[in-house]
Each structure stands twice: as structure tokens, then as C-alpha cells.
């Protein structure tokens, strides 16, 4: 049981959740994740840690509300408790002095890249931040990044800010730079990571992604998070979640991510007919 310190909508459908977890806050490193369960009937879901405060003993997560489990998290308020918050799990993002590092964040990945960018700057890198979103109103934490990054770019589907289009505009961003970055780190939805990896392969830039498969225990016990990297079976929870994007079998990864789409819908459709009473043509529930 961990106490919720804060839960708020940060941009539409995207939530910020700060949880009391002193042990995790004192241990977590950039790129690691926690497994959270909103309540006792809840599913265990892995979520990247976007920020932490060791002094206060809290960690912050940014998540998108998509299904039953994130829906339950989205209903939490300060003072509530989550049934489970365990971690930090997975390996940390490799940090070193690489020269120029381009970080591409979309969706929850804008949040999870924040500690990565902080650490990269501390190690003396030049950091180019690229926000990817459908529209400018879905981009958050810009103020935080402007203080940290050497340069900030935007790619939005509707062109409301920066380059107009999908992540395929990445080549334009890279080609517009005096020198290509020495490494690219992508955090965000699977499609973003897959497509970005495809493009940077052509550009010949080493690319790291932070995978987000379905997980249960997060400690290597169940193997549901397995992914093929460089032709070998890896468990994202203990071997990752960070992998070389060019080596990931994205088609397989996407299929595995989607394994329970139908069942997710089923959960929402479950009905408890006994609770609804109809009388005189009106629902009395």
C-alpha cells in the first residue's frame, strides 16, 4: 500500500501521479520502471518513473488513460492508496558522455525521458529534445526541458507547433542540424519507437528505445514481456527495458502488445444485471 500524494490531469487523457515510496525514491535511476496495481482486483502494470524526490520519499509517474487499469489509476486522489507500487525494476538507461544525444519523447515518454535528459546533461552531453505529439496542447513539461536541453524541436501531426506530420519528419529535423547526433534515445508509444528506429537505421545513428510490453511480475518470473532482440529472446523486465532499436523485432513486439485488446474491451462491457432495476420504464439503479 502506497499513499497517493497527487494525481492530476497534465494534458488531456494524460495523468501525473505522485506516490509515496521512499525505498524506491532512494534507489530509482533514469529509465527504470515500477509496477503498479490500483486496487486489490487490479492488474499489475509497468509504468516508467518520470521523476522522484529522495528527500520527500516520493516518485512521479506520467501515464495515459487507456484501459481498465489505467482508468482505475486515473480515479485516484491525494490521500488514496494504491494496492501495489513495486520497484525500481529493469535496468537503468545507459548514461555516459556520448557527445550529442537526441531524445525523442511522445506520450508518457515525455515524462520518462526527463530523468534521462537530466543525467545526460550532468554527464556533459549536448542534448537535443524532440517532442512528438498529435497537437501542441498534448505536449507537457516544456518549461522543464527548456531549462535543460540545448535545443528543442517539435513534431506535431496537425502542425500546430514545429514540423507538421508524423515522426517520419525526424529526418528533416536531423538533416537540419549541423552534425547528426551521436545517439538517439526514444521513449513513447510503440509506433513512435518502431518508426523512429526504422528511420535512424537508415541514418546510421545508434538508437535506444525503452520498451513497454505487457508484464505481470516484472522480475523475470513469467516471461510475458519477452521480445526478440538481435534474433535472441530477451525479457524486457530484467534484460531491458532499454534495447537497441535497430535490433528489436518490431512486428512481433507490436503483435504482443496488442494481445489483449479484445479482452480489454470485454472488461468494460461486463455487466452486472442484478444491480440495475427497471421499473415503470425507468432505470432505478
Amino acid at each position: 500500500m502506497n499513499k497517493v500524494i497527487e494525481r492530476k490531469v497534465i494534458v488531456p487523457n494524460m495523468h501525473l501521479l505522485t506516490i509515496e515510496a521512499p525505498d524506491i525514491a532512494s534507489k530509482v535511476k533514469p529509465g527504470q520502471f515500477v509496477i503498479v496495481r490500483a486496487n486489490d482486483e487490479g492488474e499489475r502494470i509497468p509504468l516508467s518513473v518520470a521523476d522522484w524526490d529522495e528527500g520527500k520519499g516520493t516518485i512521479t509517474i506520467i501515464f495515459m488513460e487507456v484501459g481498465a487499469s489505467t482508468g482505475a489509476l486515473a480515479c485516484l486522489a491525494a490521500g488514496d492508496f494504491v494496492a501495489t507500487c513495486v520497484g525500481p525494476l529493469g535496468n537503468e538507461t545507459e548514461i555516459g558522455n556520448f557527445g550529442t544525444v537526441m531524445c525523442i519523447g511522445g506520450c508518457y515518454g515525455i515524462g520518462s525521458l526527463y530523468p534521462v535528459v537530466k543525467a545526460l546533461k550532468k554527464s556533459g552531453n549536448k542534448v537535443i529534445m524532440v517532442f512528438e505529439a498529435r497537437s501542441n496542447y498534448l505536449i507537457y513539461w516544456v518549461d522543464r526541458y527548456i531549462k535543460l536541453a540545448d535545443k528543442v524541436f517539435n513534431i506535431t501531426r496537425d502542425g500546430s507547433i514545429g514540423y507538421k506530420g508524423h515522426i517520419s519528419r525526424l529526418s528533416d529535423v536531423v538533416n537540419g542540424l549541423p552534425d547528426p547526433p551521436d545517439r538517439i534515445i526514444v521513449n513513447g508509444c510503440t509506433f513512435l519507437m518502431a518508426r523512429a528506429s526504422e528511420m535512424t537505421k537508415d541514418l546510421g545513428i545508434p538508437t535506444l528505445v525503452n520498451l513497454n510490453p505487457i508484464m505481470i511480475d516484472g522480475t523475470g518470473m513469467c516471461g510475458v514481456c519477452r521480445v526478440t532482440v538481435g534474433g535472441k529472446m530477451k525479457f524486457a523486465c530484467v534484460d531491458g527495458p532499454e534495447f537497441e532499436g535497430h535490433k528489436v523485432d518490431w512486428k512481433e513486439f507490436l503483435a504482443r502488445r496488442k494481445a489483449y485488446l479484445e479482452e480489454e474491451a470485454l472488461f468494460f462491457r461486463r455487466s452486472e444485471p442484478k444491480q440495475a432495476v427497471h421499473k415503470e420504464g425507468k432505470c432505478q439503479a
Partner: protein
């Protein structure tokens, strides 16, 4: 005197009393426990068959050396309260062991009546006493030694960890159990299904150690949340009982297709995450029509029988050796067969074939034949060339075994492992290669049984206590 009675008592009774079970047609549709346990009458009747040997061989077959004839003699007298006390002197998890111990290979295999195929049903009697105590509603707490001020951390709340905790707390030490998952019990909770070991029983056993005074901290991954070295700063001793929780796959094409599960995933989804209640519980579970389970052990039987209960129309066990070599308990493979699981023996999957959406649709297998015995003493399965054939299946559960979980070994300098990934530990004491760290159970032996893990836990507890008293490593 009743002549009939004299007749009975004067003769050796070789009729083992069957335990009532749910009928296969009914039980294959529910998750309730299959075996229903002895009534008091049946238990006494069974207990009376015991010859009370002067030198009981059954005891030597038990890894924790339970005083079997003694507890049985209390059942004969109808003094169940003393019976359970006797049992608990050596075994702190009788309700669990009475259900999942392979008694036919341990205590019961040594019973003198076994020579005439009438061995005492020791496991069933053990279970009876534990269940009797539970329904009676009041569990007697054994006396605790006065506090020693020594603190022990136990990593993992499975059978090994819970045994160490139970033993050390009675000796007056302060015990904290760390569990990575959100529920305590280890494999008893996430692995063994409800119909074989009801979760209420596991919860009861864990609760017992908790009530004795052990602190149980769930959602805490030692090796991640805190390292062993950090624990050693706060605790006088650490016991590692993290089990064998790294599933093996076969390294054949198509293993990452949707619909291919490790047994750990499949069973965890159903048990720990209550998948069998989906969609009322929120961990999603897919309904499969044809399920193949690869492997021949208890875990394979558990998976196959779970699949049936989840509504699969066709469930097959695919095993590369023959019936005679099945490593599962006979009782379990019989139960599976009665319930309608189909056994495809001498068969080896070589490839999984998927549809355009990445879901399994077929498995390709090879026929096998048995050759000369291998190192395990079992006849080695040999592939029959060009015997490939395909089966339409929409799920495969891979139940071919587990390696020890590397999380603790890989984050603890000084802990030596074998080439199998198990921790190096002394057989008699459980001492690892790192001072003040003990280990036992599957993390040392590789995947084995509940009772062996408990036996190892007991030995480690003894050694830990000795160290805490003398200060000598």
C-alpha cells in the same frame, strides 16, 4: 465381544481408505478443490490400520522427519488436537504438505504395508489434522522463547522462507519476510492452482507465521528495492529462498507468438491475478479452444487442468517420453486423464506457426522413440526422422521447467552460483559463500518440491540460530 470386530483388529487391514473427490464431470468445470478430504470417521479408520512400528520407516522417508506413527496414534484415539500439535512440531505447513507432497515417493513409499500395496495414507491423515484445526477455528500458538534482539531478513515467502521464519521466531528472534509479489506464499500462491491447493489455506499458513510475530513485507524486490548487502547492515542474518522462477523456453521458431505462454505466466495469470474470475477481475485472459501443454510434470498437469476449467474444448499434454517417465505425481496425471486431458506421449514440438496477426494457429511436432537410459536413469527420447506432423492449437503452455531467478545472485557480490545458476550452499547448513547469508529451496536445488524446500529451510534455521547464539560463522 463382537466377533466381527475381533476379526478386523486381529488382521492387518490392507484396504487404504479412498479420499472422496469431486467427480471428473463436475470438477472440470469449477476451480474448487478436487479432493475433499477425510471425514473424522474415515480418518480414524485409516489411522487404525497403522501398525505403529517400533522402528518406523515412514519417518525416514520424510524430509523433515515428522513423527508419523505418533501423530497417527493420536488420530486413533480421536485426540486430534494433540495430533496436530505433534505434526506441527516438525512441519509448520501441514495443510499444504498434506496436499502437495509426493508422499508416494517419500513417507508412504517406506510404509511396511506398502509391501502388500496397502500403505497408510499418511498425506491424507496429515491433511485431515490440518483441516480439522482450521475448521475448529482456534489455532493453538506454540510458546515463544524470550526475545534475543537478533534480526533476520528472509527473502521470499515461499515454503522455504516461511519455514525459516516459523522456526526462528519461536526461538525468540525478530523475523522480517520480504516478498516481491503482492501476495505472500511464493509458488504456493502464484503457481499451484486453487483446485489443488486452495489459496485460503496458503493465506492461513502465512497468517500463522504472521501471528507468531513475523513481519511480512510484500511488493518488495530484494536485489532491486534493496540489495542483500544493504539488508546485512540492518539484519544479523539473511536467508535467501527466492525459488526457481525463470521459465525455460525451447528455443524453437514461433515461441514469441501470442498464445504461447510459459506455465509461470499462465498459472500466475489464473491464480495470483484471479484470471479465472475475468472479466470481474481485471487481468485479461483469453478464452482458448484448443490448448497444448508441453511437459510432463506437476506444473504441466496443473496448466492442462486449468485450461480445461477455463473452458477449453481440447487440452493435450505433449511429452517427449512415454507415460512411464512422466515426472508428475501419479495422482495428478490420473486426475488430469479422468478430467479429459488427452496425452500425446513421445511427441516433441519443433515449431509454432502463427496467423497473420501473430497468434498461434498450429504446432509442428516430431514423433519420438525411447532409446537407452540417460543420466537421469530414464530412457532417452530419440527423434524419429521425417515423422513431422501438425496439430491445430490456439494456445501452448510451455511447462518444461524453471531456472533459479538470477535477481539476487546477480546483484550480490560474493554469492557464488553453479553453472546451473543455483546458489552454492552447504547441504547441511544452508550456508552460502557469503558470510551471514543462508539459502535454501529451489534457489539452491533447482526446481524441486515444497517439502524439500521446507526441509532446507529447517536446516538453515538451525544453522542461523547456532550462528546467532555463538557468533561463529
Amino acid at each position: 465381544m463382537n466377533p466381527e470386530k475381533t476379526e478386523k483388529t486381529s488382521k492387518i487391514d490392507l484396504n487404504r481408505n479412498d479420499m472422496p473427490k469431486q467427480s471428473p464431470e463436475i470438477r472440470r468445470h469449477n476451480f474448487n478443490e478436487v479432493a475433499l478430504g477425510y471425514s473424522e470417521g474415515l480418518a480414524v479408520q485409516e489411522a487404525k490400520r497403522c501398525l505403529q512400528c517400533k522402528k518406523p520407516k515412514c519417518k525416514t522417508g520424510c524430509p523433515v522427519e515428522i513423527d508419523i506413527p505418533d501423530f497417527i496414534s493420536f488420530i486413533v484415539k480421536g485426540d486430534f488436537s494433540s495430533g496436530i500439535k505433534k505434526l506441527k512440531e516438525k512441519n509448520c505447513l501441514p495443510a499444504v504438505c498434506g496436499r502437495v507432497c509426493p508422499q508416494e515417493a517419500q513417507c508412504e513409499s517406506q510404509c511396511i504395508l506398502g509391501n502388500k500395496k496397502g500403505e497408510i495414507a499418511i498425506g491424507r491423515l496429515e491433511r485431515f489434522l490440518a483441516d480439522w484445526e482450521a475448521t475448529k477455528g482456534k489455532v493453538d500458538m506454540p510458546p515463544k522463547a524470550k526475545p534475543t534482539g537478533k534480526k533476520i531478513a528472509i527473502v521470499g515467502s515461499g515454503p522455504a522462507g516461511v519455514t525459516v521464519a516459523g522456526d526462528l521466531i519461536l526461538l525468540g528472534h525478530e523475523v522480517t519476510i520480504f516478498e516481491a509479489l503482492h501476495k505472500a506464499g511464493g509458488v504456493l500462491t502464484y503457481g499451484i492452482p486453487e483446485f489443488r491447493l486452495p489459496k485460503a489455506i496458503v493465506a492461513r499458513e502465512v497468517d500463522y507465521v504472521r501471528r507468531l510475530g513475523a513481519k511480512v513485507i510484500t511488493d518488495y524486490v530484494v536485489g532491486k528495492t534493496r540489495s542483500i548487502d544493504e539488508l546485512l547492515k540492518e539484519f544479523d542474518a539473511v536467508f535467501v529462498g527466492t525459488g526457481a522462477g525463470l521459465p525455460w523456453f525451447m528455443d524453437i521458431p514461433g515461441e514469441n507468438l501470442n498464445g504461447v505462454y510459459s506455465a509461470n505466466e499462465y498459472l500466475t495469470r489464473m491464480n495470483l491475478m484471479k484470471g479465472y474470475q475475468f472479466p470481474m477481475s481485471s487481468t485479461p485472459v483469453r478464452k482458448h479452444v484448443r490448448v497444448a501443454v508441453v511437459g510432463g510434470g506437476n506444473v504441466a498437469m496443473d496448466s492442462a487442468r486449468t485450461a480445461l476449467r477455463m473452458g477449453a474444448e481440447e487440452v493435450r499434454i505433449i511429452y517427449r517420453r512415454s507415460h512411464a517417465e512422466l515426472p508428475a505425481r501419479l495422482e495428478e496425471s490420473e486426475n488430469a486423464e479422468e478430467e479429459g486431458v488427452i496425452f500425446n506421449m513421445l511427441t516433441l514440438p519443433v515449431k509454432y506457426i502463427g496467423d497473420e496477426n501473430g497468434w498461434l494457429k498450429e504446432i509442428e511436432c516430431l514423433k519420438m522413440e525411447l532409446g537407452e537410459p540417460d543420466a537421469s536413469g530414464r530412457r532417452r527420447p530419440i527423434e524419429i526422422p521425417d515423422s513431422n506432423f501438425r496439430m491445430q492449437m490456439d494456445a501452448v503452455v510451455c511447462a518444461i521447467g524453471n531456472s533459479p531467478n538470477p535477481l539476487v545472485p546477480s546483484t550480490t557480490p560474493g554469492l557464488q552460483t553453479t553453472r546451473h545458476g543455483t546458489l552454492v550452499a552447504d547441504q547441511e547448513t544452508g550456508k552460502t559463500t557469503k558470510e551471514r547469508v543462508w539459502a535454501g529451496g529451489d534457489i539452491v536445488t533447482g526446481a524441486a518440491t515444497v517439502i524439500l524446500a521446507m526441509g532446507a529451510g529447517r536446516k538453515a534455521a538451525r544453522s542461523i540460530n547456532e550462528y546467532l547464539e555463538t557468533g561463529k560463522w
